[in-house]
Point group: C2
Chain length 321, copies 2
């Protein structure tokens, strides 16, 4: 039987999965990324876990497991070089050449890209974007990431770092961003940006707030703001209305680039559902250039939150060059 | 000998050229687009002129002219359908199926796209973008157009209308645009947008103006503002500084999408040169996400202003699907 290995390399944990041809994760393992400061022992232990999954599956299948290869989604992962280059939130520093290191143990294809690109490609191979030639994925989380598919291919650009729509400037001279510039989409629609908007709004309107009055600023999370919105908290609802407006504008702008047939949304803050999706869709239609009216849907990712990273990484192996 | 026909369909004139394999326009003809209200006689006369060029060239070469086909750059031209669909500034109305009409006379490939896409592809086949896999063309004129090349292919998107960066919203709730929305790039960096900025600035600072004091608002043009800038007019220089800043921001945002190796600029207002290019390059570097620093150049189109439209149209025939 044929399988793929998907590796989701996060700053804290590295999750690995054995994935079937049709996108079922049938085995999972993980190691603690932040227990390592060198690539060599990290890859050695990763390979140990992968081999263990393969051996277990060989016993179950009663025949040799054929591996398509190892797909890796990693922060700052570069598709062209196969390297992770100085990712700020990794304890393993330097220019990490995964292919070279893995090939000391196994001679299988190794494909690597950043996590948002992997998520987009996972949606294409295993999720709601199957059969689409043009779509964009926005991932909301600690930051805002994106992956763009044009003509059925991930857009990597000339450097391998294309698809950074979280750092397109939405509001000139707006909020200060961790990238050093001002007004990036990420400063408004990441988990942190959403919390900042909530805190600003409750300062302006302390009487409007109902649910989170007793929660100090430092403990507000996008999850709490989501729960408060579902309970009718006016400040929380207003927060999501603003975030929906900002994300709708960014999405409408992205349509002028590649005229996608759909824009997918995923990540923790997006799980709030209607309090975000209703103003988002409304803003998107309002900001959309008339020639694109009715040509592009906003949809939630169809992959499970705890599977998308591994499936996306495994999907990278299906990429046609 | 092999040749291509490039057709530049404008609202007023239609320019046609016989183009050699290496991008020389060796014959030109034109007809008045606005003399027609129906596609049939328009195409009949277009074909008459094309045949005349072919016959003249056959006599010169002493052998049959082999035509690659007819490439057409037209407002609202759709690559997928081969049609021009209700272009607002054409006297010929309706959904114009050029391929069907032309094939009544000649059985050659007919390829059609909008004018900015054609200009981008002309730069790729015959100009400064030769050999590049990822670049973007911005055209400044009555409006602001763009053409985007990703992996060596024009991005047409799911509808055929991709690459409308002139209608990405640069400044939320900014200037009213002819498209009905607010804050589009086009409202700031088109010829009309540049004139509006100049007029606003001279109202604010009537003493700062030196060269165009006697020119009424209705006669100010981007060309005059360019001449005034070269003569040191402070209001004109400030106008170009603002336009450069706005265009630099838009270009930096476009890099987050496709990480191009170059962004090309063309069109009347861009001919002003340094008064625009200096602040443009400075703003571009300032607004560019750090991971893209040094990876993308801003360059002027290398095609002649009076040749780019015909060459771009002819270049469409070289497109790999």
């Amino acid at each position: 039987m044929r399988y793929s290995i998907g590796v989701d390399m996060g700053g804290t944990n590295t999750d690995m999965g054995l994935v079937t041809e049709n996108g079922n994760i049938i085995k999972r393992r993980n190691i603690a990324t932040n227990a390592y400061t060198q690539l060599e022992p990290y890859v050695r232990d990763m390979i140990r876990e992968i081999r263990a999954m393969v051996e277990e599956q060989t016993a179950i299948d009663g025949e040799a497991v054929m591996l398509d290869g190892i797909g890796i989604g990693a922060p700052n992962g570069n598709y062209y070089t196969g390297c992770v280059d100085n990712a700020p939130n990794l304890t393993i520093k330097g220019n990490l050449d995964f292919g070279k290191e893995i090939h000391k143990y196994m001679s299988v294809p190794v494909v690597l890209s950043n996590d948002a690109n992997a998520a987009a490609y996972g949606e294409y191979v295993y999720g709601g974007a199957k059969g689409m030639k043009h779509f964009i994925m926005f991932t909301l989380g600690t930051g805002v990431g994106s992956g763009i598919v044009v003509d059925g291919k991930l857009v990597h650009g000339s450097t391998g770092a294309a698809g950074e729509l979280g750092h397109a400037i939405l509001i000139p001279h707006g909020r200060k961003c961790s990238c050093g510039r001002e007004g990036c989409l990420e400063t408004y629609t990441s988990a942190r940006g959403i919390v900042q908007t909530y805190i600003e709004l409750r300062r302006e309107d302390p009487d409007g707030e109902r649910m989170l009055k007793e929660v100090p600023d430092g403990e507000i999370s996008s999850k709490l703001i989501g729960e408060a919105a579902h309970q009718g908290d006016p400040v929380a609802l207003k927060t999501w209305a603003i975030v929906g407006d900002q994300l709708g504008l960014a999405m409408a702008n992205s349509v002028t680039f590649s005229a996608p047939e759909a824009i997918f949304l995923m990540g923790g803050p997006a799980q709030v559902g209607e309090p975000l999706l209703r103003p988002l869709r409304e803003a998107f239609e309002r900001y959309l250039l008339n020639i694109f009216a009715g040509t592009c849907q906003i949809r939630m990712s169809e992959l499970k939150a705890n599977e998308v990273a591994i499936l996306g990484a495994a999907a990278l192996l299906k990429m046609k060059s």
